[in-house]
């Protein structure tokens, strides 16, 4: 993420400039190329930033298109949570990132800002193990409750299998009325 800030030559994108003016130190770094804008935000200011991005008349980011995460194994901070925003009104886009350390993979939930974040954050929790503080019901969405670990993390063993039934299934694994007797 550091290398993204080392491009002072290009003129700052107007939206990113306003973001910097508004939040100052909370904006860790920005990057923009031909309308593709990215801002890395300090973890503590995420919700305030998102509310401003949604409500300011010049932004109007009324749609959260995606929440996902990236695992940069071996780098510090290890994780990045990525928010893709879109404005139906203005037809423009922005990308917000929050960097998270491995030993404290927590970030505030933005369900209060965009209710569509609910399932997206559950997906990021399920597959990457990102904990979203303030999420109304943070539980797995794709995998089953018995699954251990978060399979899209880079240190999840590629060959590891956790079947509910069949070879390798734990003894007496629950699967809902299997017995034909």
């Amino acid at each position: 993420m550091v290398e993204e800030s080392a491009q002072p030559s290009a003129p700052e994108d107007p939206l990113l400039q306003r973001l910097r003016d508004k939040f100052g130190e909370a904006v860790v770094s920005t990057h923009s190329y031909r309308g593709d804008r990215t801002a890395i935000i300090d973890r503590g200011s995420l919700v305030a930033t998102c509310e401003w991005l949604r409500d300011d008349p010049q932004n109007q980011f009324d749609m959260l298109m995606d929440v996902t995460a990236v695992d940069y194994l071996g780098r510090r901070p290890r994780f990045e949570v990525v928010y893709h925003l879109y404005s139906i009104e203005k037809n423009h886009r922005a990308r917000i990132k929050v960097a998270l350390e491995e030993d404290d993979v927590k970030v505030a939930s933005v369900v209060s800002v965009w209710s569509g974040a609910n399932w997206l954050e559950r997906e990021a929790w399920d597959l990457y193990g990102i904990q979203f503080d303030g999420h109304p019901e943070l539980k797995r969405i794709y995998l089953y409750e018995e699954f251990e670990g978060h399979p899209l993390r880079k240190d999840y063993p590629k060959e590891k299998r956790q079947p509910l039934i069949g070879p390798g299934a734990p003894e007496g694994a629950a699967d809902g009325g299997e017995s034909s007797s």
């Binding site: 079947p163 299934a169 034909s180």
Partner: protein
């Protein structure tokens, strides 16, 4: 109304025929007739989960028309079906559902594994996908392909029919795996397999 007696069906020397009913019946063994009826009257349950479903639609549609071979009525409850078509990728999360569908089918029943994902997991060797459904339910016929050509499906269907023709309720027969006995479909033994039969892991 006069009742025809048995003598009227026969020639003087005892051979069948000799009445108006000459061409109206044939003789067979009970088991053969039963197997013949079974193999041409599949009530299929399509368990369709992925892109192979498109090829399934093609093969059951009018151009390739498995209806010609007796694979006719899709039943959308397993309780009315005797041929389970597993069409598409099966994930570990879906596995208990597939197993339960199979258990709800009444005997005799057969399972067709349709496509590479169902056979082996296909290209998906990862945390989510079952590496071959034969770890969940016993499979009678595997159709390779990604997706299989309709000709491959029809070929597999004919092979399955040939197997069913030889299946008997009271004795094991060879199946596609070689010397292993076929699936037991004794009434009252629902889902129970004898030792040495197609590998199945109890839950």
């Amino acid at each position: 109304m006069a009742t025809e007696t048995r003598e009227q069906f026969l020639h003087q020397d005892g051979r069948p025929g000799g009445s108006d009913l000459r061409d109206s019946f044939f003789t067979s063994r009970y088991e053969d007739a039963l197997a013949w009826a079974r193999k041409f009257a599949f009530f299929q349950y399509p368990f369709v989960t992925a892109c192979c479903g498109m090829e399934y639609m093609s093969v059951t549609g009018p151009r390739f028309d498995t209806d010609r071979f007796g694979m006719t009525l899709p039943r959308f409850t397993p309780r009315q079906a005797d041929l389970l078509l597993v069409v598409g990728t099966i994930t570990h999360r879906q596995a208990p559902i597939l197993r339960r569908v199979w258990e709800q089918m009444s005997d005799p029943k057969w399972v067709m594994s349709f496509g590479n994902c169902t056979n082996t997991g296909g290209p998906y060797n990862n945390y989510a996908v079952v590496q071959g459904i034969d770890s969940i339910v016993p499979v009678d016929i595997y159709i390779p392909g990604c997706p299989p050509r309709p000709e491959a499906v029809i070929d597999g269907l004919l092979k399955l029919q040939e197997r069913i023709r030889r299946e008997r309720s009271d004795r094991p027969v060879e199946n596609i795996h070689g010397k292993q006995p076929a699936l037991d479909f004794q009434a009252g033994e629902a889902g129970r397999l004898a030792p040495g039969q197609v590998k199945i892991h109890d839950v």
